[in-house]
């Protein structure tokens, strides 16, 4: 199985034995570098890669991605706080994590996404969605992440907006990324189901001007 992404067409093609098996809408970064001061938007870099692992991604770069998707929450209105589950089984304070009272802001974010101002039972704001699929440039050709190889900072993932749209049964509209490849939540599930994200799968990002031609 091979994955081919055509960023200029927002098109993801899955081949089996050089024959198209499935296709999906998917959206990468812009064709030219953008101007986000925190992290400039960049093209999804063309090249041949190998799929490595899938993980609930976290990063302190983006405030809402400090917590993994699905982290359990506990509303603490009398303390004007929200607690979050720590791996140890104890609870941490979101006010401490953010060094600021955030309960109202969290409820407002939930309202913007799901239409209801509540503290959700689990964190649904991670910018990378429930799971991110990572890839790497296989420099030594052994299909293993080793030697001086490292995971790309670009990855397949869904977005909180698209997850909410899917949950609510609304139309899912993909948006340009900072370089990652945005998938629709149901498409991500199908891609897993057909084995496209199996470790070791070959993955090609084509150039923006390249167009997919059916065999």
């Amino acid at each position: 199985m091979e994955i081919h992404f055509y960023p200029g067409q927002h098109l993801l093609i899955i081949n089996r034995g050089n024959i198209k098996f499935a296709q999906f809408e998917a959206m990468g970064g812009p064709a030219k570098v953008g101007n986000d001061p925190v992290m400039a938007e960049e093209p999804t870099w063309p090249g041949v890669y190998v799929i490595d692992k899938a993980e609930a991604y976290r990063t302190p770069t983006w405030p809402t991605s400090k917590l993994a998707w699905g982290t359990k929450l506990r509303d603490m209105p009398s303390k004007q706080d929200i607690w979050y589950a720590l791996p140890s089984g104890k609870w941490g304070s979101l006010n401490q994590l953010y060094n600021s009272p955030v309960r109202s802001a969290i409820m407002e974010m939930h309202k913007e996404l799901y239409g209801k101002a509540i503290v959700p039972e689990a964190w649904v704001f991670n910018d990378f969605g429930p799971i991110a699929i990572r890839w790497f440039k296989d420099l030594n050709g052994n299909k293993l992440l080793d030697s001086i190889e490292s995971l790309s900072g670009q990855m397949f993932h869904t977005t909180p907006d698209n997850e909410a749209e899917t949950t609510l049964g609304s139309p899912v509209r993909l948006t340009l990324s900072h370089g990652c490849i945005h998938l629709k939540p149901n498409d991500r599930n199908r891609l897993f189901a057909i084995g496209a994200f199996k470790r070791g799968t070959s993955f090609t990002v084509h150039k923006y001007h390249e167009r997919y031609k059916a065999n």
Partner: protein, 214 residues
């Protein structure tokens, strides 16, 4: 901003809250996020919980003379900050509105604020800042600081809400994050003119530090 401490659950229409000064108040609000002492009572910003669990944002006034409390719902956003300016009391909402608070309720003002702003200075001029949106794909991909009378408005990459801008020795100090090597810098800005006076690079601050200490 002050802290409230609930000493009873929300088992009835009224909840009892303990004010920072030790006074107990009864309120219809189910939770309270901000409190402000006014001339003749307490201003509260909080929520009433609807049957479906949705939190409706309210501003409430609890008169100190024992008169009944007043409750005013907010159409958009939540009460993010109270402030006093030229002897009038105001509430700023997260949606970017400033409303004057008077006996008859909340009335619109001409102050122009941006969503998610916090007021940094209330006398002699009103200065506010708004951070970059939290989400990676936020439509607000840069923050700003500005005077509410429109005298100046500058874009700044203020991203860390844990370190809000502050007035230090009369000047506005803002922690700015830039793309290049995750560099942190303090921008010192003339609060009257908005002119950038200086910048200095800093290490990552400790959580309990204020901008003026950096």
């Amino acid at each position: 901003m002050c802290a409230f401490y609930s000493i009873s659950g929300c088992f009835a229409a009224a909840s009892i809250f303990l004010l920072p000064n030790g006074e107990r108040i009864s309120t219809e609000l189910d939770s309270i996020d901000i409190v402000f002492s006014s001339n003749n009572g307490w201003l509260l910003g909080g929520y009433k919980v609807e049957k479906n669990g949705n939190n409706l944002a309210f501003v409430s006034f609890i008169p100190s003379n024992g008169d009944p409390a007043a409750y005013w719902p907010l159409d958009e956003g939540y009460a993010s900050q109270f402030f006093k300016h030229k002897n009038e009391f105001y509430v700023m909402s997260s949606a970017g509105k400033v409303m004057e608070i008077n006996a008859s309720g909340l009335s619109a003002t001409d102050f122009v604020v941006k969503p998610k702003s916090i007021l940094i200075m209330d006398e002699p001029d009103l200065i506010a800042c708004n951070p970059r949106g939290w989400a990676k794909l936020s439509a607000m991909n840069i923050g700003s600081c500005y005077r509410l009378d429109g005298a100046w408005d500058i874009k700044l990459s203020w991203t860390d809400i844990g370190f809000p801008p502050q007035i230090c020795n009369g000047d506005l100090n803002v922690l700015v994050t830039t793309n290049k090597n995750r560099q942190l810098e303090i921008f010192v800005i003339d609060s009257e003119t908005g002119e950038l006076l200086s910048t200095r690079k800093i290490d990552k601050p400790e959580k309990n530090q204020s901008i003026c200490e950096l």
